[in-house]
């Protein structure tokens, strides 16, 4: 693969850039006074009221068609919106997954009735979704999914268990990948995506606390859950192809670059208030800026390719691996900067933010496909696998 062809330089068109000012003004008032350690939750912060307020602004489902309650805007407009949300540390978790994955999935593969039901509710910030992929024995190797739905006279009967399902305890639906035909030996064949109403009988949701004390991911048990026939999205048995088609959207966005941005901004703000910064701190600030600039250019290049309907799986994996590496490096660089000078003394709030990001940083390269999986995809793109 020629390194010249993978990423081109693109600039955000002025009409999309124009979205930035109103979004920023809205966020400044909505997030006034929220501490950095809270804002550092970034796209893991959950606030249903905030999501509904964002929906009222028309800022959920920005790229979705107007006919389904979307705004019909470009992938660049969405890029601008996401950047502003992440830079501000807005609590976007409630609607994030539905906006990024479930709504586009339903638009692409769903029935007209599914589109008409789900997409406008998602765009209004009223219907939140979770994505059920991992199982106790099935992580990166999703072909091993054991949860199973069997056809019944009225639809499907679902049994099984999902784990690490973000927001299952507060989402309305789960888009889940389950086996509907064949056996695990059939690998990716026979998997399907079902939209499960989480209020149905037979579903038990148990939140799992993360190491910082937050509860965002869950274990979900399905025991003889009766689903209607129209719970199936797309084609029976084609779930794997449907899932992988969406991955480039999930892997290359600004959320793979900016997870430590609130921390970096908080550090720089304190650095500015102190005496003239030490050379060591300047060097670290410059390193962070340069790395972020190149990653942002790469992410924009992928957004442009996605906007043209291409499938940049190689490029998206590259952005995710390099982007999460950058996010994970920031806490260590800032600790180095603290050591480079006795002044300014970091505030308690900054140290708490650093502690939070440091502890959660390992998850940055786990969610959405692990580092090793990304590198496997890249190796294939390079022609060595």
């Amino acid at each position: 693969m020629n390194t010249l062809q993978s990423f081109s330089l693109v600039a955000i068109p002025p009409e999309d850039e124009a979205l930035r000012a109103p979004v920023r003004a809205f966020l400044q008032s909505a997030l006034h006074g929220v501490a950095p350690a809270v804002r550092a939750r970034s796209w893991m912060g959950f606030d249903a009221d905030f999501s509904r307020a964002l929906g009222r602004q028309g800022w959920i489902g920005l790229t979705l068609p107007k006919a389904y309650g979307g705004a019909g805007r470009s992938s660049f407009a969405r890029f601008v919106l996401l950047e502003e949300l992440l830079a501000a540390g807005a609590p976007v978790s409630a609607h994030w997954i539905a906006d990024r994955q479930t709504a586009p999935l339903i638009l692409r593969y769903g029935s007209e009735a599914q589109r008409a039901f789900f997409v406008p509710r998602i765009a209004r910030g009223e219907l939140f979704t979770s994505i059920g992929m991992s199982e106790p024995d099935t992580g990166s190797d999703l072909a091993g999914v054991r949860s199973r739905a069997v056809p019944t006279a009225t639809g499907w009967r679902l049994n099984g268990r999902k784990i690490w399902t973000t927001n299952a305890h507060r989402a309305h639906y789960m888009c889940t990948l389950v086996r509907t035909s064949g056996t695990p030996e059939d690998r990716h064949k026979g998997l399907s995506q079902l939209l499960v109403d989480l209020t149905l009988p037979g579903i038990t949701v148990r939140p799992i606390r993360d190491l910082s004390g937050d509860g965002h991911f869950c274990e979900v048990l399905f025991e003889d859950v009766e689903l209607p026939a129209d719970a199936l999205v797309g084609e029976e048995g084609a779930g794997w192809q449907q899932v992988t088609a969406e991955l480039a959207f999930e892997r290359s966005g600004p959320e793979r670059i900016y997870s430590s941005l609130v921390l970096a901004e908080a550090w720089l703000a304190e650095l500015r208030q102190g005496p003239a910064p030490a050379a060591g701190a300047q060097v670290i600030a410059g390193r962070i800026a340069a790395r972020m600039a190149v990653l942002r250019a790469m992410s924009l290049a992928v957004a442009e390719q996605l906007g043209r309907g291409l499938d940049p799986a190689f490029e998206a994996s590259l952005v995710k691996d390099l982007g999460t590496e950058f996010e994970q490096a920031i806490p260590g660089w800032i600790e180095e900067a603290f050591d480079a000078s006795d002044h300014p003394v970091p505030s308690t709030g900054l140290l708490q933010t650093l502690a939070y990001v440091t502890q959660l940083a390992p998850s940055f390269s786990l969610r959405g496909g692990t580092r090793q999986i990304m590198r496997g995809i890249i190796a294939r793109g390079l022609g060595v696998r």
Binding site: T3, G286, A293, V294, A297, A301, R375, G376, V384
Partner: protein
């Protein structure tokens, strides 16, 4: 014009830059014939205005050519010559440019009023050096300088010292020009090209070389390393594009520093992984890999170094009121195409 120019340049360039030729250049063989052949391809006047007989291209367009030169392993300062010819022509000194290669370097004051250019890549092969010196450009003949062999490429590069700036055959106002920014942008592009070639060499080798009964590319441990190398090479290429994104001849100093910093970071990992995969054959004189990794190390070591670039960016970030995100967005982004 875009990267289509690349093909037209790359093919004849690679034919000229055989492994033997590259090794000979590094060993001090005469380079006049090689330079004449490259100059005859017609790309060295790419940035000179059309009215002055050039192609009137921008640095943004030159990028692909400098990348190609780096990828071909060309040891002569091709990109520097193209820029120097454009600057000289624009200042009305086109007739003084000479036919030979021109290096570009920042000058610093040496002993007794002398001008010193440290670690100039290709400085021993250039006929002249365009030196930024106290707000001016000086075109200095290389044969009037005292040369100290370069640490990495003793026959090709050199630290050069002229006993007085008065040895300049041409001097003109530098305006906002900055030799460090130009070197950063051009070197980053050359480095990205060199890393692309290393990526090619190492993936080819991993597919051919068999151990334990199969090509080493089939081992997951090797694949993961090659992926990291590929990521670094791709990222450095886009960074270099960003560094060279100016619509004129002069790069934006902050974008150029971003490009060089990213290229230097990437080069460390690219060199280490490439040599690890190649094993012993990669550290022989006979194998071409060493020529490329040596070039990369030299580029890392010359002004502006990784730390200098990072410091420039950090100072600029902290000297203005915006936060990191807005600084990156407003100051470190590609300008829209006109």
């Amino acid at each position: 014009m875009d990267d289509t120019l690349l093909d037209e340049f790359e093919r004849p360039l690679r034919a000229l830059c055989t492994d033997d030729t590259l090794r000979a250049v590094e060993a001090g063989a005469p380079t006049d014939a090689l330079w004449q052949a490259i100059d005859a391809l017609g790309y060295t006047d790419a940035l000179v205005a059309e009215a002055q007989g050039g192609a009137g291209l921008s640095l943004r367009e030159l990028f692909a050519l400098v990348f190609a030169a780096g990828k071909a392993g060309l040891g002569l300062p091709f990109g520097e010559t193209a820029v120097a010819r454009a600057l000289l022509a624009a200042a009305g000194h086109g007739e003084r440019r000479g036919a030979g290669p021109i290096a570009i370097a920042p000058g610093v004051p040496g002993d007794a009023g002398s001008v010193v250019c440290r670690d100039v890549p290709g400085g021993a092969l250039a006929h002249q050096v365009l030196v930024s010196w106290q707000g001016e450009w000086l075109l200095l003949p290389r044969d009037r300088a005292t040369a100290t062999p370069g640490a990495w490429r003793p026959q090709a590069s050199a630290t050069l010292q002229w006993h007085t700036p008065d040895l300049a055959v041409v001097r003109f106002d530098a305006g906002a020009a900055d030799a460090v920014a130009l070197c950063n942008a051009l070197h980053a592009a050359g480095m990205a090209g060199a890393m692309a070639r290393v990526l090619e060499l190492v993936t080819d080798y991993a597919r051919d070389r068999k151990q334990f009964g199969r090509p080493i590319a089939q081992f997951q441990a090797v694949q993961q390393e090659l992926s990291v190398l590929g990521e670094q090479a791709h990222s450095a290429t886009l960074a270099a594009r960003l560094g060279c994104s100016a619509a004129g001849v002069q790069p934006d100093p902050l974008l150029a520093a971003t490009a060089k910093l990213r290229a230097c970071e990437a080069a460390r990992s690219v060199c280490a992984i490439a040599h690890a995969v190649f094993g012993a054959i990669g550290i022989t004189e006979e194998h071409v890999l060493g020529l490329y990794t040596r070039r990369l190390h030299e580029w890392r070591a010359v002004p502006g170094t990784e730390t200098q670039c990072a410091r420039l960016l950090g100072e600029a970030l902290l000297a203005q009121p915006d936060g990191l995100f807005d600084f990156v967005r407003l100051r470190l982004s590609a300008p829209a195409l006109a």
